[in-house]
């Protein structure tokens, strides 16, 4: 171990974070592509047919990762928004804004794929069961966050308003997660629990690898977006005009 200590606070400054993020984006992009290819290959060519649901179960490989990403990204967004608000750290607020779009997209994907899976599995595209309703509320929270920020001209005021909404809405995440236990839902229970894996190993691997792919995708996309936000907001900053000159 080297004795050199990394000063993590250094990267809270957009001027230092911007080039670092730029250097890591190609790595995340390549890993995203690789994981998607491997995960989809296992999901469609290795994983066996489900004895109950036939081939329709293959929707799980994208549905579960998308649903998880919707929740993960919401928590991450709220944490960044909270840090940006509490410590007046503008980069954290910009991260929250950058995450919100991707989180909303994954939540929307989970709703659509869930609906397309619900039709063959339950005979209906939609029911107002606890998990689906709470996921829909998550979607509305994202939309609320995005439109609230878009409606306020002053960026720092928009950051604070968004942070309040994101933090209050955080209560919805455990409700989504535990909804299948708390209420009698049509939606099935947790896909994987600590005690037992109910799935064939290849099914589980396909799902986990695609989950990794969605994570890497999100990181890559959020980093590109936050760099755009930094350049849009700090157009006048000397470090940017010098670097670009």
């Amino acid at each position: 171990m080297s004795k050199r200590r990394i000063n993590w606070y250094k990267y809270a400054a957009p001027a230092n974070f911007y080039p670092l993020a730029g250097k890591t984006i190609p790595f995340f992009t390549v890993v995203t592509a690789l994981l998607f290819v491997v995960g989809l290959y296992i999901g469609f060519f290795v994983a066996p047919t489900d004895f109950q649901q036939g081939e329709s179960y293959r929707i799980i490989f994208i549905h579960v990762p998308a649903a998880w990403m919707g929740m993960f990204l919401y928590v991450l967004m709220a944490v960044y928004a909270g840090i940006g608000w509490a410590f007046n750290a503008r980069l954290a607020s910009m991260m929250a804004t950058a995450i919100s779009t991707t989180g909303a997209i994954f939540t929307f994907i989970s709703l659509v794929t869930g609906s397309l899976w619900g039709r063959p599995a339950w005979g209906v595209y939609w029911v107002w069961d606890a998990r689906m309703t709470s996921t829909l509320i998550l979607m509305f929270l994202y939309i609320g966050f995005i439109s609230l920020q878009a409606s306020i001209d002053d960026p720092r005021r928009a950051d604070r308003a968004g942070a309040v909404l994101a933090l209050v809405g955080l209560i919805n995440v455990p409700i989504i997660y535990f909804s299948v236990q708390w209420w009698n839902t049509l939606h099935q229970g947790a896909t994987f629990t600590a005690r037992s894996f109910k799935m064939a190993p290849s099914m589980l691997w396909a799902m986990l690898i695609l989950m990794g792919a969605c994570w890497m995708y999100s990181i890559a996309v959020v980093l590109v977006r936050v760099r755009c936000i930094i350049r849009e907001r700090e157009r006048e900053a000397p470090w940017l005009t010098e670097a670009m000159a």
């Binding site: 469609f44 060519f45 066996p48 047919t49 036939g54 081939e55 329709s56 293959r58 929707i59 994208i62 549905h63 998308a66 779009t101 991707t102 997209i105 929307f108 994907i109 659509v112 794929t113 397309l116 899976w117 039709r119 063959p120 995708y217 996309v221 590109v224 977006r225 760099r227 755009c228 350049r231 849009e232 157009r235 940017l240 005009t241 670009m244 000159a245």
Partner: protein, 65 residues
């Protein structure tokens, strides 16, 4: 490999619409997100380039004046 033909693969045991619908929507949304983002990145770069030219012009004007 449990698909004996391409048509069987596309049919997905009768669930083709639901399975390919799910993956199609995902592809369109994620692909769309990437395209919009790349467009935004180009726009940001263009604005930066223009302001660079602007300052250069201003400097030039300042010199010839």
């Amino acid at each position: 490999m449990h698909w004996s033909s391409l048509s069987e693969f596309i049919r997905m045991g009768g669930y083709g619409f639901y399975v390919w619908g799910s993956y199609g929507v995902t592809l369109i949304l994620l692909g769309g997100e990437v395209l919009v983002l790349l467009k935004r990145r180009r726009a940001v770069a263009r604005i930066a380039g223009e302001s660079k030219i602007e300052t250069r012009n201003q400097n030039f004007e300042a010199v010839i004046r």
